[in-house]
């Protein structure tokens, strides 16, 4: 192990997960000269056939986790590419039918930025507000739909909050209207049961790197019944039935397949264990005064806990949580110096966004780690409040809303 991460505790699984050792072992079989290193597009020899065999098995494994047909899986480089292919690909293919797209303000940038690009190309995009818990309501979608609407893109689980959208209801409605429905499921594989048929999903973005598979590989589910068509983004050889050209990275794909197979087998036990840890963690942290859970208590996956610690700035809290890897909605941790747009969209005041920390647990999180981090966090918040003029003022009964600040 590299010494720098030796004592650090990783609570940032929603950002990416480590590769499960069982997955890494499988990948190793597809890299070296004594393994199946061939190009799956080589139809003339055994090296190519073996690679293709591995890829087709993985295609079944990925399809099986979301109850799709393996012919509905298109390999990509990750969820960002899948989102781009789904949104730009569908919009451009169906532009003769209409030019209106509906999405939400708390989607991942991999959805929002392609939407912005489509606006530059003449499409109209409605960005829906979620409710205060980070849920996009079916009502708000219904109200936004018009004759020109060709695509709805809504995420399954929000990456900052862990809030869960009601994909099945939205899917049922979109199908009844004949509108293509895309779901970014980057956070939900191995966390929630996914059934694209039952949910009436037309396009679904998947990634390996958040489900104990390798980074750099993902997939897009493209429904065959009803048949959804896309304009490709990458041309050059017609691989993946023309949806995505390029030599397939066999080891990555095999890794994704194995990771999804494990997700299917171990989801229930992983979730049950993580839910217990999360419950304990929240119970411990709720001893701290003036903290707020961002997102819904009920409609949330347990692996993500996003908390605002009032009167403490997020980046300083991260520094005080030395050796604990977490992320923050604070402006100071972003290159743009803007606080989290997700928390802003919930109507949270900026100061609470600056004070937010996302803790995310995973398969390898232990009870010991949760206990340790809860203790460290309690101490760090107390120490930073000791340093905080805002905490002083709060304790003195000053209404911070009424203070005239000098913004800079």
């Amino acid at each position: 192990m590299m010494n720098k991460t030796d004592k650090a505790i990783y609570f940032d699984y929603a950002s990416t997960t480590p590769v499960d050792p069982r997955v890494a072992n499988k990948m190793m079989e597809y890299l070296t000269a004594d393994g199946h290193f061939g190009n799956a597009a080589s139809r003339s020899h055994i090296f190519g056939w073996k690679a293709e065999e591995g890829i087709e098995k993985a295609r079944h494994q990925v399809a099986s986790l979301i109850n799709a047909d393996s012919r509905e899986i298109v390999w990509t480089s990750g969820a960002t590419e899948s989102d781009n292919l789904a949104i730009k690909g569908a919009a451009r293919f169906y532009k003769a039918k209409g030019n209106h797209i509906i999405t939400s303000k708390i989607e991942h940038k991999a959805v929002l930025d392609p939407c912005r690009q489509l606006e530059r190309e003449g499409f109209e995009v409605t960005y829906l507000d979620p409710d205060e818990n980070g849920i996009v309501s079916l009502e708000s979608i219904k109200n936004a739909v018009k004759d020109a609407t060709i695509l709805i893109s809504i995420m399954h689980i929000n990456n900052e909050l862990g809030s869960v959208n009601d994909i099945k209801s939205i899917g049922e409605y979109a199908r009844s209207k004949g509108i293509i429905f895309h779901v970014d499921a980057a956070q939900s594989t191995g966390k929630l049961k996914i059934d694209v048929k039952e949910m009436n999903v037309d396009l679904m973005s998947l990634t390996a790197g958040k489900t104990y598979g390798p980074k750099g590989v993902g997939a897009l589910y493209v429904s065959r019944k009803p048949r959804v068509r896309l304009e490709a983004l990458i041309h050059g050889g017609g691989h993946e039935r023309g949806f995505r050209s390029g030599t397939l990275p066999t080891h990555q794909i095999v890794g994704m397949g194995e990771a999804y197979k494990l997700a299917a087998e171990e989801m229930d036990q992983d979730n049950e264990r993580i839910a217990k840890l999360a419950k304990y963690f929240w119970k411990e942290l709720s001893e701290i005064e003036e903290i707020f859970l961002n997102g819904s208590h009920e409609n949330k996956v347990p692996n993500i806990t996003n908390i605002s610690f009032a009167y403490v700035e997020g980046e300083s809290l991260i520094m005080a949580l030395k050796d604990v890897a977490v992320s923050s909605g604070s402006a100071c941790t972003s290159a743009s110096l803007e606080p989290s747009y997700v928390l802003r969209a919930l109507g949270r005041p900026d100061e609470l966004a600056h004070s937010s920390i996302r803790f995310s647990f995973g398969r390898f999180t232990t009870e010991e780690e949760v206990k340790t981090v809860a203790e460290i966090a309690k101490k760090a918040v107390e120490q930073l409040r000791e340093l905080s003029p805002l905490w002083d003022m709060f304790k003195d009964g000053v209404d911070l809303e009424k203070v005239e600040w000098a913004p800079h």
């Binding site: 980046e315 300083s316 604070s330 100071c332 900026d350 100061e351 600040w405 000098a406 800079h408």
Partner: protein
């Protein structure tokens, strides 16, 4: 957050031993005390500096509290070190660049040192306004 070791050390020392690092407050109503509070919670940083000044214009004590990122807290601490034992005239000469330079602040964090300079100005202003007969 590619901070220099100096920022990290200042931050951690202050966190672990606030009393020894001038964290606290002085009586804002005293006529020998000047208070400067700058920044805003919505921007992610608020700095409060208080200086106690003797009748011959020497800074005899200073305390601060800061809500903000690690470099804002380290900049506050650096400012305190630079202020101690100075005359008001000397304190007025402390510039944000001096603080940024000592701490090797990354460009994106320069506003933390600007905030520190502003808090010195405000604190001196407050003190001087108390001395001027209304």
């Amino acid at each position: 957050m590619a901070y220099s070791r100096k920022v990290i050390k200042k931050f951690e020392d202050t966190l672990n031993n606030p009393a020894a690092h001038s964290v606290g407050r002085l009586d804002a109503s005293s006529k020998n005390v000047g208070t400067g509070m700058v920044g805003a919670p919505a921007c992610g940083d608020v700095m409060r500096l208080q200086i106690e000044v003797s009748d011959d214009g020497l800074i005899t004590d200073c305390k601060f509290k800061t809500y903000g990122c690690g470099s804002a807290i380290a900049s506050s601490q650096q400012m305190i070190e630079m202020l101690k034992g100075k005359t008001l005239a000397e304190a007025k000469q402390i510039k944000d660049k001096d603080i940024a330079k000592v701490l090797e602040l990354p460009p994106i964090k320069i506003h933390c040192s600007v905030l520190a300079e502003d808090s010195i100005k405000k604190a001196i202003e407050d003190y001087e306004s108390k001395k001027t007969p209304a």
